[in-house]
Symmetry: C2
Subunit: 364 residues, 2 copies
């Protein structure tokens, strides 16, 4: 444990001007950890040995053993890797990074290339194309411990293990996932900042139809407080994950990751589980239940209206000046509105006179 004690220093962390409280850090046998997981509150667990057999997964080892399968590698001009769903299409959206498919040795060469201008982040679910040595390491993960957690907390099935190989300095912007996650650090150092679901309104996730669904609209490096004034109120929970650390990342908690500057490559593996079935509903609903309700409501209206532009108009009509403050926007063009009756205005105008009775009209 004490190995990581001097493994990094504050100047390797990006600086943000919102408060960041420490995340609880517990040894695997600490009953406090169990309690937090049960309460769906995040905790860093030390000594679980969950993926100790992956701590040796450095680039050389992986290049030798991981096999010839293809891997999804994101290529970015900046340090930021903001996920987007390419099944969601909207006008004028340019993906902030490029999604490429590479065999591992191509990724290795890309990383080792001194003259490159791009940054890379490998994000690939582990599958049966990996080589036998990796399979052995995988089989020797501490399944006993994690299955016990799954059972204790009544979680659904394990859905995927994402292998994450990040360069130093890479940033995964703030977003939330809809599953429970044991985020396991194999090697290298990652700083994580979490935000509880109750801070949804400070983080302004994109609309559900948007390719950046589940991602905060706020750029942490240059927050636009005109558009996102409540971001001022955001309060994070942070820590730095080192080799062997496991973060319990509850579903719907917002999270942000940065691989420490000058810390080399960081390798991590996610363990995503379907959340436990919702028990008896009690009021008031939890922030997680509200987030799920908001997602479903947004999806329902998108399905009904088909066109995301109409969805924007619908929600604005429903909320502006009724549930939100309204702001005069003279760029707002009423003729853009769905179901707009500009036609009616014209029409009624045209026929303002019917046989023999028009004259009353002018009295009004």
């Amino acid at each position: 444990m004490m190995a990581e004690w001097n493994a990094w220093t504050d100047d390797q962390l990006k600086t943000y001007n919102f408060p960041i409280h420490p995340l609880p850090i517990c040894s695997v046998n600490d009953p406090q950890a169990e309690e937090l997981i049960k309460e769906q509150k995040p905790v860093v667990i030390k000594g679980s040995e969950l993926i100790s057999t992956a701590q040796k997964w450095d680039l050389e080892y992986l290049r030798e053993h991981i096999g010839d399968g293809e891997f999804t590698v994101y290529e970015s001009d900046s340090e930021s890797f903001k996920y987007y769903d390419d099944k969601k299409v909207i006008d004028g959206f340019t993906p902030p990074m490029k999604q490429r498919r590479m065999i591992f040795s191509e990724f290795y060469d890309a990383i080792k290339n001194k003259n490159r201008t791009k940054k890379y982040y490998l994000q690939q679910p582990l599958n049966d194309k990996v080589g036998p040595q990796i399979v052995v390491d995988f089989i020797n993960f501490n399944w006993k411990w994690i299955k016990q957690q799954q059972m204790n907390n009544n979680w659904g099935p394990l859905t995927s293990n994402l292998l994450l190989i990040s360069e130093e300095g890479n940033v995964t912007p703030c977003h939330y996932d809809e599953q429970e996650n044991f985020y396991s650090q194999a090697n290298g150092y990652k700083r994580v900042i979490l935000f509880p679901p109750s801070q949804y309104k400070y983080l302004y996730p994109h609309p559900v139809y948007h390719p950046h669904d589940r991602q905060s609209q706020v750029d942490f490096d240059e927050p636009n407080l005109k558009l996102f004034p409540k971001f001022k109120k955001v309060v994070g929970f942070g820590t730095v994950l080192g080799p062997g650390d496991v973060l319990y990342l509850p579903s719907y908690w917002f999270h942000y990751f940065e691989t420490l500057k000058n810390s080399g490559i960081a390798t991590a593996i996610t363990f995503w589980y379907k959340a436990a079935p919702v028990g008896n509903i009690t009021y008031p609903l939890t922030a997680v239940q509200l987030m799920a309700m908001m997602r479903n409501t947004e999806k329902m209206i998108l399905e009904a209206l088909k066109d995301y532009k109409q969805v924007d108009i619908f929600w604005n009509m429903l909320a502006a000046g009724r549930y939100c403050k309204d702001v005069q926007d003279d760029t707002d063009d009423e003729d853009a509105g769905v179901g707009n009756d500009a036609s009616v205005v014209a029409k009624l105008g045209d026929i303002g006179r019917c046989t023999g009775h028009g004259d009353e009209a002018k009295n009004v």
Copy 2:
């Protein structure tokens, strides 16, 4: 017809500073009228004789013939009679008028009382308690014509006939109804201003849970353009209804009524019909379809959250900074939020240290 020609003058109308276009006015045989009704666009119909047997319904006649049944009479300290649904209850709501039950002679005496400070508006669905002479008049309404309209337009059943007896100067503030209406003037003069459903966003109806559901939040006499900036864009369609006039008032069209100043008593009868079934949905949806969708969505969330205060928070969370501009509101107290994890903050704070590993935390 020409009788009403000089029956009133502009100085009997309240003045508003938004544009008001003339409503189309058609004689009953004008095919234009049929066309407008089919298109669910408003039109004033002359010569239908729909309630000519009610044109003699003045106070004396009614006092003599209408019977001893009780009538709903609204009593107001002002000229404004803003409807409220007393089944919808929210904190700190004071009804803007008093709902009373009177037999007709009590209403008559109230109206005739010279020293009174209150204003009165009788609004009572016609029922089987009325006297035989009124029944005869009712039977002799032009049912042939109106049933023809009902059939031509595939409307549902007639749901009610509201008898409206208004004093001069009474105002019914802007609202919409969910049924088709032939609004029939028996005697007296009423000025009406209509707004198409596409102007929903300029008129800001109260939330569905509010006692003033379906009513505009905007006070036409003193519009608060800080809260309701888009009211600037509102454009009305107006006319003055006189004896014998029938207004086709399409469902979901906003409407405002004023009984002309110094015009005495005005008596009108509504003919409310269930709207025609929605045919094949085509896109984009009409403003009416959107209004119905908004109502259903608001009702669904109210049912799920039970508490209207949570509904406010839910819609604000969903829309502010995502579908509406957000505005910093420092009075906004995050701890008022449903599912707020202020508790989490505390909790995680408390247990920021677990056995033997606390010290990593302070590095973040």
